[in-house]
């Protein structure tokens, strides 16, 4: 035997007739004291057997939530095919169609949604005309909704254009920045090359003007040559570094161009 089986004791109860007799006895006892009281035998409500559902607070909330959800879902579903002038048309346009807006973030998706709504309104307009319900009032409702959607569409398209403008400005700024940087580096390279030429020429003239010292100062010359070689090596390294920088900058420029192309492609696609 389990603890839960203790509930079986509930099977012990009075029969309906016994309960009725008991109630009559109670009623007559009470009526002796209170003459104006006339109690009537309570007939249990058919809903009483489900009353346990309302005894628990969690169950109450759950039942209420299911009830509200089913009512709203059914209403929303029923409103989908409604036309202007129908009872559920406002539910469709003001609630059901606005729910997806909560998930749209970009101006592009919002503009697309406005466009689709305009399309729907035009279909509704056509359908009203087909079934002969295109009254002045219904016409006004559809026109008002179309105007509203057009306004939303324009607003979002303006936002997209502003965004494009910003991208172009950014692109131009980056291009000018890149050009300035390249010019700077080209100047630097040119200077380095000029310095290298000057050094060579100076060395040459010194050697030509002082031949007598050539033999005596052989050791000095060797030293000088070594120094020049060192300088040359240094200049070459600098040149190499600058070339690398130019190469990197060129790569950046190419990448920038690719990004711009992608953005243009995306905008064209939208």
């Amino acid at each position: 035997m389990k603890i839960k089986e203790l509930k079986k004791l509930k099977e012990i109860k009075l029969s309906i007739s016994e309960k009725r007799n008991l109630f009559d006895r109670i009623s007559s006892s009470i009526s002796k004291e209170d003459l104006d009281v006339k109690l009537s035998y309570p007939i249990p409500s058919p809903f009483f057997r489900f009353s346990f559902l309302f005894q628990n607070k969690h169950l109450q909330v759950g039942i209420l939530a299911i009830f509200v959800l089913s009512i709203t879902s059914a209403t929303a579903f029923a409103s989908l095919n409604s036309l202007p002038g129908d009872l559920l048309y406002d539910v469709k346009t003001n609630i059901v169609e606005k729910i997806p807006n909560l998930f749209y973030v970009s101006s592009e998706s919002k503009a697309k949604d406005s466009y689709e709504k305009i399309d729907k309104r035009i279909h509704e307009f056509e359908k009203l005309a087909e079934i002969g319900r295109l009254t002045e009032k219904n016409k006004e409702i559809v026109e008002e909704k179309i105007d509203q959607n057009f306004n939303d569409f324009d607003k979002n398209v303006r936002k997209i254009k502003n965004k494009e403008k910003k991208i172009t400005e950014e692109k131009n700024y980056l291009e000018s920045e890149l050009e300035t940087t390249l010019e700077k580096h080209t100047e630097k390279i040119r200077k380095i090359r000029e310095n290298k030429e000057e050094d060579r020429r100076a060395l040459q003239s010194v050697l030509e003007r002082a031949p007598s010292f050539h033999e005596k100062e052989n050791d000095d010359e060797e030293k000088k040559e070594k120094e020049i070689k060192k300088e040359e090596q240094k200049s070459n390294e600098e040149l190499k570094n600058t070339e690398d920088e130019i190469k990197i900058n060129t790569e950046i420029k190419e990448e920038q161009e690719d990004i711009e192309k992608d953005i243009e492609n995306e905008l064209n696609l939208d």
Partner: protein, 172 residues
């Protein structure tokens, strides 16, 4: 005013009569006596209703019934204050025979008898708490109101009582 009270009364009668009858019957072991006590309970309940607002009709009904059972035992001094008939008592056998007609089958009679015996074997302080919690499915708060004890004490009694019952029934 009376009409409002009548509605409360009728609702209370529809919802609680069977449970009250069982509650009294397990204590007096006499069907006629149990019905009489239930009748008196409702008359007292009506008088209390007339005096003022009743917040918990069910708790009030149990409280009145419990007091009337105690009064009945006091008047019937020869009978020991025992809430349930014992396993081998003659009264218990009479009591079960009396219900044979109201229960659906022999199995149910045996199950009910076994359940009564197991609850009856508990210490008196645990019997009422376990009975009201697991048979009548009242909340500890309602039981506390009926017995006039704090909810914490009732929870402890239910817990200890059910552990004792599990041991007796060999349930882990």
């Amino acid at each position: 005013m009376n009409l409002h009270l009548q509605k409360i009364f009728e609702k209370a009668y529809a919802e609680n009569t069977d449970a009250l009858f069982r509650f009294v019957l397990y204590r007096v072991s006499d069907k006629e006596q149990a019905v009489d006590i239930v009748e008196d309970t409702y008359v007292h309940f009506w008088q209390t209703l007339k005096k003022g607002e009743v917040k918990e009709p069910r708790a009030l009904l149990y409280r009145i019934a419990r007091n009337l059972v105690i009064d009945w035992y006091r008047k019937k001094k020869s009978v020991p204050m025992q809430m349930f008939p014992s396993e081998n008592s003659e009264e218990g056998e009479i009591y079960m025979d009396m219900f044979a007609g109201d229960l659906v089958g022999v199995d149910q009679i045996l199950e009910a008898k076994m359940a009564i015996e197991k609850i009856a074997s508990l210490e008196p302080i645990y019997r009422e708490a376990v009975y009201l919690r697991f048979v009548e499915e009242l909340t500890p708060k309602e039981i506390a109101e009926i017995l006039g004890i704090s909810t914490n004490v009732i929870s402890v009694r239910i817990n200890r009582g059910i552990n004792l019952l599990k041991t007796k029934l060999h349930i882990k």
